[in-house]
Symmetry: C2
Subunit: 330 residues, 2 copies
DNA sequence: GACATGCCTTGGCAAATGCCAGAACCGCGA
DNA sequence: TCGCGGTTCTGGCATTTGCCAAGGCATGTC
């Protein structure tokens, strides 16, 4: 794409951003195509470029968000299955991902849905507590860039030693980066060696301050984990098999945002909880919007327990899971 | 769209895809298509319907605004020509329609642009004063339905006797209807027979009240008319040729929102002004956002005068007109 | 001043989409 | 049970779009 003629000589000086005209062309092509309904041929002719270039311009316009294609989120919420699950699950809102989509991993697909919903829900001065998980990570990657300097994104659970690509720190900072929001990481280990250490840590001013901030949360975002079979908790090195067994023996079926619970939604505690640095549940439960995102048949029991525990009041899941849940919830 | 519970009896013959998408089919098709990037074929397969039906669903989804395609209005404002004209014309904002669009009439194309911009600019408690004209009418028809019960749309100029399809009443009520806003028409003739009558009318409580409302305007929307050759003023029966000549002889080159002006932006008055029921110019000029919409080579001189008179601080026009104006404004 | 490098553009083909007219279907009434 | 009006769905074709690999053009380097 050529710069306008007038700029030819001064161009080597590069006073203004070089691609000024380019942005306009994409914009104009987009207008003519999407608003006036011209064919790419016609636009090509009128702009004096090839049709292929028009195609490229349109693609660029979409990529650069000169044009955006959005799906009305209120409709998503009104979909039949969403409404049914919302009512049966005692939720404030519920969103269900259509079955049989692309071949991508389910958590990526759910993450995409979650991203679109979160974008719509975010308000200018939100404080968002973020947990961790593959789906949350996926959501963070699917978020569109936005400018929300008033938003704070805070980590609800301590950081981990092991580095894996969906750690609490990464989830939090990723989301904050996309939103251009303030990122507040929790600079403490997620798990410490004994309860005494936890007590001491919690008294540290910086940590204490962080937990004060968490009490301001207007939203939290978290995934769910099931406990049977290979789980992230173990794979990520957060917990050992023995610890997990201990919870399972106590009747726990799932883990979400730092808490274990049984099928009836009772919180299950073991000694691990005394070493786990996480937002206290009594604070957590006071957050107005608690958004849980996750799905897959292996998680159904866990999600059911999570719903009974009322950890979430907004659920984002997939169709198959939603179906099963509806069936199970009487 | 069929009701979801069609499963009663006929459905038992359809074992393969036992999914019931009910009224959400369009929504889900839209999600899979626009968000997950599936082909129509694939969606058809997964939903167990023909590809053509998927196409129809997608079309419906667009029509019903389940999906919307929008062009970032801030980009429109940042386009080169817009910026140039904004600065040269002493405007707050300026929007330029790309040249060489569809074969539709220019005023329809500009109206479309105006509609998109107005949609973006409207705030929840706006009071919008609306004048009349073909372009304004066209804008009103291109507005997307919205729900703005807090908005008031008020007529800035009196109504006319002759009925034509872009009368002040129609422009006003059309816009209000689209926005689901309150519509306040001015129940008085646009032109009365003598100045005495105008004085009396203006004292009428209802009329007086209306003009009080107009003083609350946060926005006004109006077109421009040129005076040479056949004009709307004459065609619509608002004015006679003699009256127009009178203004032209006094140096007027254009008419906008009820006022005549000369090329230097001086307001031109004749006896007609004493019979013309319209918002007083000193009130008009205080409205924070005065949006003028119009274009076409025949209007260039008129728009130039209008700009000098600073009647508008937001201008929506087409590329050709914008080019000429830039050239003329030094 | 010639050559290498890398982004843009283009022509053309294969795939995807848009659209229409006829088929299938539904509910209703006889 | 059959026929009928109105609606929705589908097969198939013409058009439009998406994409790729080859060719340009301009800049940077020696």
């Amino acid at each position: 794409m050529r710069a306008p003629r007038a700029a030819d000589k001064t161009e080597r000086r590069k006073p203004p951003p070089p691609m000024q005209f380019g942005a306009d062309q994409a914009l104009w092509a987009a207008w003519l195509y999407y608003e006036e309904g011209l064919k790419q041929d016609e636009i090509a002719e009128r702009l004096g470029i090839s049709r292929a270039s028009v195609f490229n311009l349109l693609q660029k316009a979409r990529e650069e968000r000169i044009v955006t294609i959005t799906i009305d989120p209120t409709r998503l919420e009104r979909a039949d299955l969403s409404v049914e699950l919302k009512e049966k699950g005692g939720l404030l809102e519920c969103y269900v991902l259509p079955a049989g989509g692309s071949a991508a991993a389910l958590y990526d697909r759910i993450g995409l849905l979650g991203a679109r919903i979160l974008e719509q829900k975010i308000e200018d001065d939100d404080v968002i507590g973020v947990a961790w998980g593959r789906t949350v990570m996926s959501l963070s990657k699917a978020l569109s860039p936005a400018n929300k300097p008033g938003v704070t994104v805070a980590q609800v659970t301590g950081s981990s030693i092991a580095t894996y690509d969906f750690s609490p720190e990464l989830c939090t900072s990723n989301i904050a980066a996309r939103l251009n929001a303030r990122c507040v990481n929790l600079h403490a280990p997620g798990v410490v060696s004994n309860s005494n250490m936890k007590t001491l840590l919690m008294q540290e001013p910086i940590i204490d301050q962080h937990f004060k901030l968490l009490r301001q949360c207007t939203k939290t975002l978290f995934g769910v984990t099931h406990l049977s079979g290979p789980t992230l908790l173990e794979d990520s090195g957060v917990m050992t098999e023995e610890l997990l067994m201990q919870y399972q023996n106590s009747g726990a079926v799932g883990f979400a945002s730092g808490y274990f619970f049984d099928p009836d939604g009772r919180i299950v505690r073991t000694g691990f909880d005394d070493r786990h640095i996480v937002m206290p549940i009594e604070d957590f439960i006071k957050v107005p919007q608690r958004i849980c995102i996750g799905g897959g048949i292996e998680k159904i029991a866990a999600i059911q327990g999570m719903l009974k525990a009322a950890l979430a009041n907004v659920l984002i899941t997939d169709q198959e899971t939603a179906r099963s849940l509806c069936a199970r919830l009487r």
